[in-house]
């Protein structure tokens, strides 16, 4: 247990020591998105009856920040350790594979939660956006950041260089995030795109979180919960398998 806690705290310290870059910067960029879209679109679109566009956008942006930061935390930690070589200290230690996995993912959840909470609190200064069902919202933040934490671990282990990780981020994480309904409801899309959107696991995270936020969503939150949990299970199994087999870690 001590081994796991040590690695977990080390991972927290790692991002906390550079919190301006890892917590404050994402809050600022999310807020910029919000202010820009608010000025352009607020008067023109009403997504759900009685729900203004900004109110619809806030949970999307909060969840986007959560997702991106949870992924960034585990992936950048692993790739930095791999490239600088200090990953040997973890590989030499008697830490179990599950302990390593849990420590990285839990640290990702904490960073996701912190950034998400930060973004939300700042939006409250400008907009009135109460949480309707906080338990549901929290559940999706935790599951979503755990899922991205696991995916970050996989991407970090798989990448040999920073540009491979950047490619993972630019060609997988970013498109899946932008096409998941952060900025729009998928119901506004043509049928073909709607169908495709439902294949995107990120859609369920955003929609589920939006349910917790607004009390309304595109699909049932139970379906979202099921999909997100399944994805988390699959990614966790893969990440633990990679750690156990020593894929790209133990030559």
């Amino acid at each position: 247990m001590t081994g796991f806690l040590t690695l977990f705290f080390k991972e927290l310290l790692r991002f906390w020591k550079v919190s301006f870059q890892t917590v404050v910067a994402p809050m600022v960029s999310t807020l910029l998105y919000l202010l820009i879209f608010y000025h352009i679109l607020e008067e023109r679109i009403e997504i759900y009856p009685g729900v203004a566009y900004t109110l619809f956008l806030i949970p999307g942006l909060v969840m986007m920040a959560v997702i991106q930061n949870a992924f960034a935390n585990s992936s950048s930690s692993v790739i930095q350790s791999k490239i600088s070589g200090n990953i040997v200290f973890i590989l030499l230690s008697p830490l179990s594979y599950r302990a390593i996995f849990c420590a990285y993912v839990l640290a990702s959840i904490v960073r996701g939660l912190l950034v998400g909470l930060g973004v939300y609190l700042v939006t409250l200064i400008f907009f009135e956006a109460p949480l309707q069902l906080p338990i549901w919202a929290l559940l999706f933040v935790i599951l979503g950041s755990a899922m991205l934490g696991a995916l970050g671990l996989i991407a970090g282990i798989w990448s040999d260089k920073f540009d491979q990780l950047a490619a993972f981020q630019n060609f997988i994480i970013l498109p899946l995030t932008f096409l998941s309904g952060v900025f729009y409801t998928v119901h506004s899309l043509p049928m073909g795109w709607q169908y495709l959107s439902h294949l995107n696991p990120f859609f369920y995270m955003i929609d589920g979180f939006r349910y917790g936020f607004l009390g309304v969503s595109d699909i049932s939150p139970y379906i979202s919960l099921l999909v997100v949990t399944l994805c988390l299970a699959v990614l966790s199994t893969l990440a633990i398998y990679m750690l156990k087999s020593g894929y790209k870690l133990r030559t």
Binding site: M1, R14, S84, N86, V88, F89, S93, P94, G246, R250
Partner: protein
Amino acid sequence: MLPAIEVQQVRKCYGALCALTDIDLTIYSGEFFALLGPNGAGKTTLISIIAGLALADSGLVKVMGFDVIRQYQQSRRNLGVVPQELVYDPFFSVREILKIQSGYYGISDNDAWIDEILERLDLASKADANMRALSGGMKRRVLVAQALVHKPPVIILDEPTAGVDVELRQTLWAFIRQLNRDGHTIILTTHYLEEAETLCNRVAVLKAGKLIALDTTNNLVGKMTDGNVLRLKLDPDVVPPGLQALQISHAHGVAELRIENFEQVETIIAAMRAARIHIVEMQLQQPDLEDVFVHLLSNHRKDDA
């Protein structure tokens, strides 16, 4: 004696290139053991396999009786490794690093031992400095400290003195000798053969992934019967005909004679006196591990050919 490290039939290939072929090696508890070999001989690969940083294609490796694959947690708990590369985590200070490292091994309160290691390695004044601010030699000592936080019975040092200045090297070896006296098994690789010769009781020599020698340091050096050389400065600078057979070289006013045993020195002096040749300077060179090493590697090369 209890084996600290057992390596049985270990093979490791990267594609067509085999870094290690069928290595068998047992290192006993309490030994001070040197693993020697030219660059690319497979020393680091073997150490990595013992430490679990690399996976062998076949064969069995145990640390203090624990299989490095099936009982990896116990085997790693018994092992401290000082890696060859100067790796460090730039986010933390020396003390933080050592506390974190202790935590990985499940030790939560380790301050007394950490202070002692810092003291012994002459790092106490740098305890709160960030790793980035340390010189190469200091970073190397932090690596040694990291390998010791959990007081492992077996310690492996891969080129621990590379880039460390003479004075620090002495401090480091004094500390490691002390650890060996306290019962720790020490395994090291080094390019400084005189270090291996003075410190280690047993030596293994690797070449191109094969074990070409494994014996006590004394036996290896003792086998070098043709290694004793008498260096003479003579006046006049002539070697008497009766001694020509022993001559290895004669240049720049120095004659080198090969001797099989020390009684021969007497014969040589007598022969010089008889020929009225005055001995200005005399030096006896005995074989050292370096000669053994060169001899082994060149013989092995002949065998290959």
